[in-house]
Symmetry: C2
Subunit: 109 residues, 2 copies
């Protein structure tokens, strides 16, 4: 579940969100978006966790701004973004960051 990312620098998108009640198509779309994101040019990895109260953090890692912009503009993803604002999230924050250094412990898959 921990992403194996390359040597910094690269970019991270931290998406922190509070889900609304009920599924309303969320689980299927969420799974589809991860599957799709993984196939985009410049995608480096993703880490995602949500607790029983519906608070979640998803961090996706990208090679550069161009790859983030392309994913943001992807047709299926723009539909998901709209439904996210309308239905699935009570609140969210999206932060785009430049990863400057990394350290760790343990083997990654």
């Amino acid at each position: 579940m921990i992403a194996r990312t390359p040597e910094p620098p690269y970019l991270a998108v931290i998406f922190s969100s509070q889900r609304t009640e009920g599924d309303a198509g969320y689980a299927a779309m969420s799974e589809r978006m991860v599957e799709l994101a993984c196939r985009q040019p410049g995608f480096l990895g993703v880490e995602s966790v949500r607790d029983a109260e519906g608070f979640g953090i998803t961090v996706s890692y990208w090679r550069d701004e161009a790859s983030i912009a392309a994913w943001k503009a992807h047709a299926e993803h723009t539909v998901a973004q709209r439904l996210g604002r309308e239905r699935w999230y009570g609140a969210f924050r999206l932060r785009v960051c430049r990863v400057e250094r990394e350290s760790g412990l343990g083997d990654l898959p």
Copy 2:
């Protein structure tokens, strides 16, 4: 649970971790570390979530590198870091990032 952070730029520390089995003092220390971090100079906020399988992401936000370095060197925190490596985490990655922009939806506390 979503942090109310200032206008970028500021720094984010993304800590992604897999817990080992059992508590072994983790819950109390984790609570203490959040309480202590919140009182450090330059602390801007924290978001944290862990799922039932023990995978977690904690993102803490900081004003500058000096505040991150001071927190890393804090006496109680260095003990927690050692126990984390020895007992509590099977694997972790810590990524230090510069937040460049932020967007969102919904009111924050």
